[in-house]
């Protein structure tokens, strides 16, 4: 069987339906999507909001006791976790309207896994740092809440910018929005929280990324799906 055996003639489509005709009679100009401008607004608003949250809750008292390289390196990692998934979720490839599903999904999963590993493996502490460990692990829930509260703005803005834009793959794109927002939450926690045990940093600080990605994947497609 060759491809030619499958060749079928074109089908004659029906004329425009009455509902479409009625909508066309009232058609108005709309502002089209400009992904790079949306990304700039998304980054700007999210960073201002994240900085505001950090100013509200204060910076960690042990910051001066920790290695500067670790503070800077951790901040860069969290910032990359914020920038890369959001960029891939909001900006399609040149000449395309379709989301970059695979890359966005990969970025969301990578962020979720790498931050847990980073938190579990690298956790320097100073005299003013706290160690909750397993006994006081549940006491860390305010960090999860703070991280998720920080993630709200990038996720909501991303959902608004992608409103009715995604016919397929919306869950993965939403997960990338959540991972990006969760990473901003992680960045705020990096400068705020002085609890340095591996369970807290690995599962709660990095857990913000996973939880935000899962929540976004669950809720955001209601706004971003083409309906």
């Amino acid at each position: 069987m060759s491809d030619d055996d499958l060749a079928l003639p074109a089908f004659a489509p029906p004329p425009l339906g009455a509902e479409l005709e009625a909508e066309l009679r009232a058609v108005k100009p709309v502002a089209t999507r400009n992904p790079l401008r949306q990304l700039a607004v998304l980054f700007g608003a999210s960073i201002v909001y994240g900085a505001g949250v950090l100013a509200l809750v204060s910076t960690r008292p042990d910051m001066g006791e920790l290695p500067m390289m670790w503070m800077a390196g951790g901040a860069i990692a969290w910032a990359l976790g914020f920038v890369v998934p959001l960029y891939l979720a909001v900006v399609p490839a040149a000449g395309s309207m379709m989301p970059r599903r695979q890359l966005a999904a990969g970025a969301a999963i990578t962020a979720a896994v790498l931050f847990v590993m980073m938190g579990m493996m690298i956790h320097p502490h100073g005299p003013s740092s706290l160690q909750y460990n397993a006994e006081r692990f549940p006491d860390g829930h305010p960090c999860l809440e703070l991280g998720l509260a920080t993630a709200i703005v990038p996720v909501i803005l991303g959902a608004l910018f992608l409103r009715r834009a995604l016919p397929v793959s919306s869950r993965w794109i939403a997960a990338a929005l959540g991972a990006g927002g969760g990473s901003l939450g992680g960045l705020v926690l990096h400068f705020h929280c002085r609890v340095t045990d591996p369970m807290h940093t690995g599962f709660i600080h990095a857990g913000v990324v996973t939880v935000a990605a899962l929540l976004a994947a669950l809720l955001v497609p209601r706004a971003t799906d083409v309906r």
């Binding site: 069987m1 491809d3 055996d5 499958l6 060749a7 079928l8 003639p9 074109a10 089908f11 004659a12 489509p13 029906p14 425009l16 339906g17 509902e19 479409l20 909508e23 066309l24 009679r25 058609v27 108005k28 100009p29 709309v30 502002a31 089209t32 999507r33 400009n34 992904p35 399609p92 000449g95 395309s96 309207m97 379709m98 599903r101 695979q102 992608l162 409103r163 009715r164 834009a165 016919p167 397929v168 793959s169 799906d225 083409v226 309906r227």
Partner: protein
């Protein structure tokens, strides 16, 4: 698409005239019912119209429109309404075949297709699972590349390759089996 987003309704009609023949063909092959494909085509363009603000100037809207058609079809199947009844039952085959004989697009330029071959091809397509049928329709009948088909269906290139290969093999067996039955009779 840009003119249409600027409020030019005639540009939408041009878009419809340019895109709807191939999109309709895709939907007929997927839904296996001309009436359902009519409905899905209207729904698809209504969604395109309502989501036109998502257009990115300078971008190719065709894969996006195809993806909307794909999603519309999948939603219809999930609803378990007409699609579930019609897919695979072959009730509409004579109608589709007759239609193609009667008013195929550019019929004057196209060689006439054997209605029996057409019916058996569509019938065999209907025997495939939804995902394999879509992979075969997009890559073999609609002329999309594997990566374009994967983008439209919202899946990975690897998964689309596997679906297309399995679908094509299954279709080959189905069509081969029918040819043998026909020869024997």
């Amino acid at each position: 698409m840009a003119r249409y987003c600027d409020g030019d309704a005639s540009a939408f009609r041009e878009l419809y005239a340019a895109v709807s023949p191939q999109l309709y063909g895709y939907l007929v092959k997927m839904a296996r019912s001309k009436a359902l494909a009519d409905d899905l085509l209207q729904q698809t363009f209504l969604k395109v119209h309502r989501a036109r603000a998502a257009y990115v100037r300078g971008a190719d809207p065709l894969p996006w429109i195809y993806a909307i058609a794909h999603r519309t079809f999948i939603d219809e199947v999930r609803k378990g309404k007409r699609a579930k009844v019609n897919i695979g039952d072959g009730d509409d085959l004579p109608e589709i075949a007759a239609d193609i004989r009667g008013d195929a697009v550019d019929a004057k330029d196209e060689p006439r297709v054997d209605p029996e071959l057409l019916a058996s091809t569509l019938d065999a397509l209907a025997g495939l699972p939804d995902q394999q049928r879509e992979a075969v329709v997009l890559t073999k009948l609609e002329g999309k590349s594997v990566s374009e088909a994967a983008e439209i269906a919202g899946t990975s290139v690897g998964a689309m390759k596997v679906r297309a290969h399995r679908g094509y093999e299954a279709l080959r067996k189905l069509l081969g089996g029918r040819a043998k039955v026909k020869e024997a009779s």
